[in-house]
Symmetry: C2
């Protein structure tokens, strides 16, 4: 494990995304035998490889982790553990922890590359964003030993959103406008509540939310989808990449679909029980769109020139690409100087363990290719 | 120019794509001051940097090339010239030359990376394809000094098609089916000839071809678009990437839109003059689709399991994503094990100098990041 060509990988989080990632890593390790998995840590347990002996098994990690008696590692412990290993280390953060996100600059400055779907690092304060930019490797930056930072799955899961925007910018294009549907849950809800083909009207709003919850398409508490914050976080990430220094999700209009009366209701169950009382409001929104020959969708927009972000309900022509979405698909359209008549559009599943892990694994491959 | 960190770049072709690429390279050189442009060669002239002195100017290259009295370099001369430079060399082939494509293995084996939009290298014989694969760098291959090979713009110009397919495969997804519209010219022709919104019927076929030709959307001889070979080449590239060893564009059904009677007509002008005689055929195709409530489009398909490729006219539902294309957009849908309900879709301008050059420049950045 001490060969200079070894790449040491620590994985935080072993739930939906983490499990899929480790399965993809197992496939990858046949192509890159220099990969050494040295740490898996989840909420209650952790598993560490003994330094300079053998890496963790990608075949039996789940059983080994379950049998482990070591508690989860703190961020400080993780940093110390990786810091003691020789060069070429990667932290794969499959959590959504703000604590871990806050520590990226510390990892990067130690030359540890970071790969993550965790939105928090890029959508919290501008200070953290700036600190991450300054701590990650750039050509001809003062500190050439800094780690690489990749986060494809922080927007649209495995869809090529971040990489495409990165390429547009790096090759000198000017992005004028970004628009899209950034939440698989809200896509699913509106595609069913107000189908574009007019074949069916869709049920009441509370029925659709209930069906989506039962099908596993929402967070355990659907208010975590309906408040629009997840979409706002993704917009902040894209906006900052194109140079709009937005301070956070609180600094632009984000429409919440939670009735104000239900914001303080205690449990998710109590919320679901009372949601039907407010169906009339969403019905009016739907009917108004129908009267105009349109459909209602939950859209996020970045207007780069005006430095303006916006998240909320919009009425769209039925021929609009957003109106024609299906299932829980995301769609992102980049309007640029080069893609001027029609945008560059990426569309497909934007949530789920396998596709989110795919973005993480693809990022890891890029790190391996660059540090090998 | 002899620093170990220098990256020497030779550019073949200085027409539509080449000119845009050199303009993007100029922007890039501010971020990567270790880039040295050492050769530009076009059909009749070439410009070389003196070894170990100063690189060519990215500001005045066009004037300098026009004033040059050196003839174009042969492939052998180009290989010798780059071979004499120290490590870290990139050949950027912006031509569509089969000769140059045939020589990629020789460049790669000398450790020279190749970046290109040239379809010929990847859609000619399987022998050339195999030779390029075996000559380009792979981790743990026997020859670690081989060059890197990137060709994003060989399909869909700057759209992230090749990189997305590469990521899907590398992360362990199984691609089942690829379908799309792969020709900007044929997209434009059919979007106008048979609009999906039914608002206008479109003109006669020969009128639409004439309009497209006058607007600069076709090759000088429109038969080079109408024969379907360009689409077939792109399908061959994608099919081989997913492991379908198709021998070439002649080994699967490719529908030509050139009336058999006009195949041997001498000039493009004579062809255009007589095309109207055959409008009735395309009119019947359009009417048949209309009767079925559909629209006609020129589609390419790869069925991975059946190892079957197909290029030609298809009747599609008006709600199909292909039917809703606009302008000269390309669209590519990947149906995979992970993107199973709905495909991963990429859409946008698939032709034009600036967007084609963008794919080349983005590839070059990846090479620079990996060899730096």
């Amino acid at each position: 494990m001490s060969s200079v060509n070894q790449i040491y990988i620590a994985v935080l989080g072993a739930g939906g995304v983490g499990r899929h990632f480790l399965s993809q890593l197992s496939v990858l390790s046949h192509k890159f035998p220099n990969i050494s998995l040295v740490l898996i840590s989840r909420s209650t347990k952790s598993l560490r490889a003994s330094h300079r002996t053998t890496p963790l098994s990608l075949e039996t990690w789940e059983k080994d982790l379950n049998e482990s008696t070591s508690p989860a590692l703190t961020v400080t412990q993780t940093l110390k553990f990786l810091g003691e290993l020789p060069d070429k280390r990667v932290l794969v953060d499959n959590t959504s922890s703000q604590d871990v996100a806050d520590s990226y600059p510390a990892f990067l400055k130690q030359g540890i590359s970071v790969v993550t779907p965790n939105k928090k690092a890029f959508s919290s304060t501008m200070d953290l964003w700036t600190s991450i930019q300054e701590s990650s490797y750039r050509p001809y930056a003062p500190y050439l030993s800094y780690g690489l930072m990749y986060h494809e799955s922080s927007v649209g899961a495995g869809l090529p959103i971040i990489s495409t925007l990165t390429d547009l910018i790096a090759t000198g294009d000017t992005v004028r406008r970004i628009e899209g549907v950034f939440s698989g849950t809200l896509s699913y809800l509106f595609n069913n509540f107000a189908p574009a083909d007019g074949s069916a009207k869709g049920g009441t709003w509370s029925d659709e939310v209930r069906k989506a919850k039962e099908a596993g398409f929402t967070e355990p508490d659907p208010r975590d989808d309906l408040n629009g914050v997840d979409v706002a976080r993704k917009l902040v990430i894209l906006a900052r990449m194109v140079g709009v220094p937005v301070e956070g999700t609180g600094s632009f209009p984000v429409q919440s679909l939670i009735p104000a009366e239900l914001e303080r209701v205690g449990s998710a169950e109590a919320f679901m029980e009372r949601l039907g009382e407010f169906d009339k409001r969403m019905d009016e929104v739907r009917n108004e769109a129908v009267r105009e020959g349109k459909v209602v969708r939950f859209v996020g927009r970045v207007d780069v020139e005006a430095k303006a972000l916006k998240v909320g309900l919009e009425k769209l022509d039925k021929a609009h690409p957003i109106a024609g979405l299906e299932g829980s698909d995301n769609i992102v359209s980049f309007y640029t100087e080069r893609y001027v008549d029609n945008p560059l559009v990426v569309r497909g599943a934007g949530a789920g363990g396998a596709v989110t892990a795919m973005g993480v694994t693809a990022d890891l491959i890029k790190v391996i290719q660059r540090v090998s």
